[in-house]
Amino acid sequence: MATRMMLLVGTKKGAFILEGDAARRDWSLRGPFCETWPINQVIADPKTGTIWAAGGNEWFGPAVWRSTDGGASWTHSSAGLAYAAGETPIKSAWSLALGPTGTLWAGVEPAGLFRSDDGGDNWTHVTALTEHPSRADWQPGGGGMILHGILPHPTDPDRLWVAISVAGVFATEDGGASWAPRNRGTRQDYAPEGERYPEHGQCVHALAMGAGNPDRLYQQNHCGMYRSDDGGRGWTSIEAGLPSSFGFPAVAHPRDPDTLFLLPLNGDQAGRFMPDAAAAVWRTRDAGASWQALRQGLPQASAYFGVLRQAMAADTLEPAGVYFGTSGGALFASADEGEAWSCIAEHLPTILSVEALVRDG
């Protein structure tokens, strides 16, 4: 059977889909979908091909969109995707993840977690997370107070990690009934001296899990790059060798838990551009002990763009493809684990998310 590749792209003005084959050289673009709503993340079930898109519209509020025909038609639902009356209403759906037994998870702004056990028709609030004692200390970051990252355990449906800005990483081992912060060892450079390693309150930017090793987590933080080998109970800095401790995405290799791809930016108060205005993806092959800049085919001058936390992805082919979308609406692709890059789409709206879907047939 022929392999079909789809890149699912969320933008400030709708979702787009790029289609190609295993060569990953030629791509065709379709969209915009989802009535040009801002779409924060688009994911798909590789088994069924069902696509979900999380977003929120200034007029009409939050919803999760769904397509079961490869993007040709879409429906949306927000049934149950709401806080109790009197609380600050949900503005937008921000993140999505599919658990190992088919539960669909959605993170929202203001930060909270919802689950759907019927493919996105109906949603239930995971109240224990928003009732966590630390909740009063959660603060909005530049993107709002958002639950922007969800990492399900690959086999255990009760285990899940979430990333909240600005609150940190939290984990459950009982299906969401209780939650614990998992931030030990990550810094808050902006806190007063002596208070830079709290239990919670860190500005996590992205989480990634090492392939085949659910205890191996990586975290790009506002203040540093980290690895954990115990499911987030403790974190170790792996930022030595990177051009900056600041960036948004972190993408794990589909098979090698020691390989990770990053896009460091020049700093939180320096414009948040490519360092020296020259674009590079940074890769480690040894779990963060060393880093290599990958620049071939990427703009090496006047690259004043940023890449947001959900706007980078890897596919599952051999060798793995890596993709990222920019604030300027360009999409770059590598079919060889980052060695060489080409621009496969440009002039899109600001890209908020990129995911890769591999399907046979």
């Binding site: 009535e35 007029w59 009409f60 949306h76 049934a79 995707l81 009197g86 209403p89």
Partner: protein, 90 residues
């Protein structure tokens, strides 16, 4: 049976609900009842019009007989309710 009220819906809203018309006749004595009737016909439409406060969404306005309305505003038999989207964006 009282004469139904006429509800005017914005294009951006009806595009989300295939088959929904821009103009709908509803039997409703208030804005909240009209929205409940819209929800009955097009499940999910109430969520697009109202948030969980509960309140009409911040960037929508509803007018009854030309006057700014809230969820409790009454609608007379044969009256008109107009839903408008804010003009904004970039």
């Amino acid at each position: 049976m009282a004469e139904p009220a006429c509800v005017f819906l914005p294009d951006a809203l009806v595009r989300l609900f295939p088959g929904a018309p821009r103009q709908v006749a509803v039997n409703a004595g208030s804005v909240a009842e009209a929205i409940a009737e819209l929800e009955r016909r097009w499940p999910g439409m109430a969520d697009r019009l109202c948030d969980s406060s509960p309140a009409i969404r911040r960037h929508l306005k509803i007018f009854v007989e030309g006057e700014r309305a809230g969820l409790d505003t009454p609608i007379r038999p044969g009256g008109e309710m107009l839903v408008m989207t804010a003009v904004s964006g970039g």
